[in-house]
């Protein structure tokens, strides 16, 4: 193809992209003269170049369109949707012709007479002062894509007025002003143009490949340098190192493009949909300038377009429906993008009707994606996640704008292919929000090098959340359930896969279980994929290295576990693991919904546990057996009594490299009577204390039903295993050892505070730390409350959805996933718990925090360790609520 034509094509494609956006803007601001001149100029350039290159079809279409645009510019013709559609039609024709030209090198056969006539009619009628609306209308009704006649009539009326209203302005001033303004802009733009170069993508890609090689070579050199100390090469190599890093950064920058480039088509798409379906939609775009790698950009372009199209087509309702639902007639689709820790976040929000759960259910059943029973056990959120399943499309009929067989599963696959993730939240009737998280670049990534069975592998650092070292001797050990390894990571069970076994580098034992040495002295790479977290067991962990991702050879493409390969600093080839592939390989096919299910399971499990409490029974100082909630006890130890030392009149023992205070359970315990004594160790994150007892009896699961409240270190007595048992108050002992552990409090006040209320009041306790949860539950139970505990706000909200009612809610502030403030805002926003008193429990109780808490909707804000205040506050809050109810 002719070089000139090639250049023309590139240039024109760019101009056309701009024109699309500009025309939509123009439709909104018909009086924007600058915009008009810009559009006119672009069209003019296209026309001019076509004439020069001898492309008659393009030239005439562009010419006619330019004529009409000229009328807009001169203010003779009002900018109306009909005319804009006509211009769009011309643009589409130009695009089609350009496409053909690109493919075949010549203009295609055929003619554009029909379009030309339409443009001509508009032009002639607009040009003459005696524009006849009838003729114009005739021209439009002749046009197949003309809008309905009703709108036409309105347009006509407007048009008749326009020459009069607009006459003085376009007649004089603009004629003089516009060309000047146009010239000025042209001058400014060409100045900018001389500052930039048009470089073909191939050149940049090539450059990138070479820089990648350079980075690898540099890594190799540095590796050599590391082994050979004090070489004369070291200082030039350091310089080389820096220069290469800068170069890498520079070249990466050339590949960066504003995300707005991927959005350029969207205004046009949204406009077309709104006109076709008779909707009113406003598209708001923010953060267009956020830059990301062009390779990534290419990959997300189509998914984004698809999602916005979906929002406009399925999400936003018709104006009448919106009005009926009490929403503004104009629906809004918001696009926002920003950087967040090595990632780009793109949000797509609409205030449409949300995902219809019932419809989705039906669809799930017809497509056999789940059974009715399964669906019944699911929350609406889980059901909505089904839209990411292959072959799912909610549109009832295939419209021209969406439902072309590409579902959200394709969107998700595309995004996950580039190491991104997608989350969706949708509330029926309120709208939908998608959150896409994508890495900045794909070419050079930082990776963690690990070893399994003497083979090394690279894991992309982005997916790695943390590393845990494990050994059978320490408490960080792997447990197994029928040979399946799991690990307790901060009170969540982490599913594990052994890399050696996954790679078939090591055979499993005959019954498929893991062997002892498979679990000892290993590392767990805690990997996060969307919201699915799992652990990969590896033998060794080396450091992280910047690696250049190279695609694997074609014959290895089938192995999902590898996302590529690379050459390390020492020159060896290493395979790069794909966390997504590993998750798939281990049976976690669908990360989004299974997580929900597993969380659900966890919730059920916790529910079961909250009814029954594991209790440790022990004997101390004679009398009834004593019981303590097992979860409060960190460890059970046998200490040698001769190791006990005295410091500041209290007993201490050296324990795990520190001093742990010891406390006999009561005066009747003779600590020194035997060589060894059992000790219950209680600890939170920082401190430990040991409670010396006489014997450990058993561990039982029982409901604690405290019948006799007592004081002085006892919570009360309950029947456990058919025997009267004293349930001890751990807080009492903790406080004896360290005054800081809890604030000072009166021991007897709490039981009275609660008991004054009539009947059992229901308390919902939301607290992520099991220590405090177990601490507070018996305490509140003693005070006469019926306690339901949840370890996070999301689970608590599920209870709300399930229709549970409580008299008061006590919530922690610092919690993972959703903190107390957000939780309160959610509750106060719109739930049946709106009027339930909310009490915040926090270890931070600064005035600012308290203000924030009040703002979020907490009625009280109390420090975590202040039991007395907690109990008085609870009873106060409940009685206030009671009074308020009576008053209303």
């Amino acid at each position: 193809m002719d070089d000139l034509i090639a250049e023309f094509l590139t240039e024109t494609n760019e101009s056309l992209g701009e024109l699309d956006t500009d025309m939509v803007n123009l439709e909104k601001n018909p009086n924007d003269k600058d915009l008009l001149s810009k559009i006119f100029r672009l069209m003019h350039t296209i026309k001019g170049t076509c004439g020069f290159l001898g492309l008659p079809r393009l030239e005439t279409v562009a010419h006619k369109a330019e004529d009409v645009l000229g009328l807009f510019r001169d203010g003779v013709l009002e900018v109306t949707p009909e005319y804009v559609t006509l211009i769009f039609e011309s643009l589409d024709r130009i695009k089609y012709l350009i496409g053909e030209l690109e493919a075949n090198g010549t203009e295609p056969e055929g003619n554009d007479d029909e379009l030309k006539t339409k443009l001509q009619t508009v032009y002639e009628k607009g040009d003459g002062d005696n524009a006849s609306p009838e003729e114009l209308e005739a021209a439009f009704t002749a046009a197949p894509s003309a809008p309905p006649a009703a709108t036409n009539g309105a347009a006509r009326e407007e048009r008749m007025e326009s020459p009069v209203a607009a006459a003085p302005e376009p007649g004089h001033a603009p004629v003089a002003k516009n060309p000047a303004a146009a010239e000025e802009t042209t001058a400014r733009e060409s100045a900018v143009a001389s500052q930039s170069l048009r470089v073909s993508v191939d050149v940049i890609e090539n450059l990138m490949t070479m820089v990648s090689e350079l980075v690898l070579t540099r890594n190799q050199l540095l590796q050599i340098l590391r082994t050979a100390n004090d070489s004369e090469f070291s200082s030039p190599l350091q310089r080389l190192n820096h220069v290469v890093s800068d170069l890498q950064e520079g070249v990466m920058k050339t590949r960066m493009q504003p995300v707005g480039n991927a959005w350029a088509k969207l205004p046009r798409i949204v406009r077309d949909i709104s006109i076709e379906l008779g909707k009113k939609i406003e598209l708001e775009m923010r953060g267009q300038e956020t830059e990301l790698d062009r390779q990534v950009l290419e990959m997300i372009k189509d998914p984004l377009t698809h999602m916005v199209r979906n929002s406009a087509d399925h999400g936003i309702e018709l104006p009448a429906d919106r009005a009926a639902a009490g929403k503004p007639e104009t629906g809004r689709i918001k696009l926002n993008s920003y950087h967040e820790g090595g990632h780009i976040i793109i949000e797509i929000t609409d205030d449409g009707k949300g995902l219809p759960v019932e419809k989705i259910k039906k669809k799930i059943l017809t497509n056999g994606l789940a059974t009715k029973e399964e669906l019944e056990a699911m929350t609406p959120q889980q059901i909505q996640q089904f839209i990411f399943k292959p072959g799912f499309s909610t549109a009832e009929k295939v419209t021209s704008v969406s439902g072309r067989g590409v579902g959200m599963d394709v969107v998700r696959t595309n995004i996950e292919k580039i190491g991104g993730s997608i989350e969706m939240k949708s509330v029926e009737g309120k709208g939908t929000r998608f959150l896409i998280k994508i890495p900045l670049t794909l070419a050079i990534v930082s990776a963690l090098i690990v070893e399994a069975s003497n083979e090394r592998f690279a894991i992309p650092q982005l997916a790695v959340r943390e590393l845990v070292m494990i050994s059978m001797q320490s408490e960080n050990k792997i447990e197994t359930i029928k040979g399946t390894p799991v690990f307790r990571l901060r009170n969540r069970l982490l599913p594990l896969v052994s890399l050696s076994h996954l790679m078939k580098l090591k055979a499993k034992s005959e019954d498929g279980t893991l062997l002892g040495d498979d679990l000892d002295r290993k590392y767990i790479v805690v990997t996060e994929l969307g919201n699915y977290t799992f652990g990969i067991i590896v033998d060794r962990v080396f450091d992280t290295e910047e690696i250049v991702v190279k695609p694997v050879a074609r014959i290895l493409k089938d192995i999902d576990i590898f996302s590529g390969n690379t050459i390390l600093g020492d020159g060896t080839v290493i395979m790069i693991l794909d966390p997504g592939g590993i998750a798939k390989e281990t049976g976690e096919v669908d990360s989004t919904d299974t997580t929900e299910v597993s969380e659900d399971m966890a919730a059920h499990h916790k529910l079961a546990r909250s009814e029954k409490t594991s209790l440790l029974l022990f004997g101390a100082g004679g009398g009834a057996p004593k019981a303590v909630p097992l979860e409060l006890v960190s460890r059970l130890e046998e200490i040698k009594t001769k190791d006990i030392e005295m410091a500041d009149n209290s007993m201490v023992i050296q324990y795990r490299g520190g001093l742990m205070p010891l406390l006999p359970f009561n005066d009747r315990i003779n600590v020194m009577e035997r060589v060894q004594k059992p000790v219950l160790v209680f600890s939170d994150e920082r401190r430990s204390m040991g409670l010396v007892v006489d014997s450990i009896i058993d561990i039982v699961e029982e409901r604690i039903d405290i019948q006799v409240a007592a004081k002085g270190g006892l919570m009360g007595s309950a029947i456990i295993h058919g025997k009267a048992t004293d349930v001890i108050d751990v807080g009492h002992y903790l406080q004896q050892v360290s005054k800081n552990w809890f604030k000072n409090h009166g021991d007897d006040a709490f039981s009275k505070g609660g008991k004054t209320t009539d009947g059992r009041k229901r308390v919902l306790l939301v607290e992520d730390s099991p220590f405090f949860r177990n601490m507070l539950m018996p305490l509140l139970a003693v005070a006469g409350y019926e306690v339901t505990a949840r370890s996070n706000a999301i689970e608590a909200l599920e209870l709300c959805e399930a229709g549970e009612e409580f008299d008061v809610i006590v919530s922690d502030i610092e919690m993972p996933e959703m903190d107390g403030f957000e939780f309160a805002e959610k509750i106060k926003a719109d739930t049946q718990w709106q009027n339930t008193p909310l009490v915040a429990l926090s270890s931070h109780a600064t005035p600012q925090d308290m203000d924030r808490g009040k703002e979020a909707g907490f009625s009280r804000y109390i420090a975590k360790f202040d039991r007395e205040t907690l109990l008085t506050t609870l009873s106060q809050a409940i009685s206030e609520q009671h009074k308020r109810k009576e008053a209303s």
């Binding site: 580098l505 014959i555 493409k557 590898f562 050459i567 020159g571 080839v573």
Partner: protein, 166 residues
């Protein structure tokens, strides 16, 4: 590094034009030996001849894939040709060599027993693959040259590396 790439580039062009030409007129072959059998690879398709190399194993890959190695900054996939041809494994003491070829922009290192001379062969002595040959061999053979004392099998490299058969 750069010059090596450049020459590789040139050779690559040579190969593609070569591939287009009829094998019968191509006369230069690099001879290789596997389990005593002599094979020929069109010399223009050969990028490099290597001695034994340290390869990184690729778990889960088909057994024919011996691993991957770094050849001057490019990643090369090593193919065990013995395994591919259904021959017994090489004994550990036995020496091995590799012939590096390029296919569709990717480099492959064919692990074989030994590399012989480059031979200029006359198309007069060329014959098609006998239909009775072992199906695996028949598939990867581009024809047979009658040498004085033995028969040389011309390896069809693209077929040898064809993913479907691996």
């Amino acid at each position: 590094m750069k010059t090596a790439d450049m020459s590789a580039e040139k050779r690559h062009h040579g190969v593609s034009s070569m591939r287009a030409a009829n094998l019968e007129t191509a006369s230069d072959f690099l001879t290789i030996f596997i389990a005593g059998q002599i094979f020929g690879i069109p010399v223009l398709q050969v990028q490099d001849v290597l001695g034994a190399q340290r390869v990184t194993r690729i778990p889960l890959a088909t057994p024919e894939v011996a691993g991957s190695l770094n050849l001057r900054g490019r990643i090369v996939t090593a193919i065990d040709v013995r395994c591919r041809l259904g021959l017994p494994r090489r004994e550990t003491s036995q020496r091995e060599m590799s012939v590096v070829v390029e296919l569709e922009g990717e480099l492959y290192s064919l692990i074989i027993d030994e590399v012989g001379d480059v031979m200029s062969l006359d198309s007069e002595n060329f014959e098609g693959t006998p239909a009775t040959l072992d199906p695996v061999w028949r598939n990867v053979s581009a024809g047979i040259y009658r040498l004085e004392k033995q028969l040389l099998v011309v390896l069809d490299v693209p077929k040898l590396l064809d993913k479907v058969h691996l």
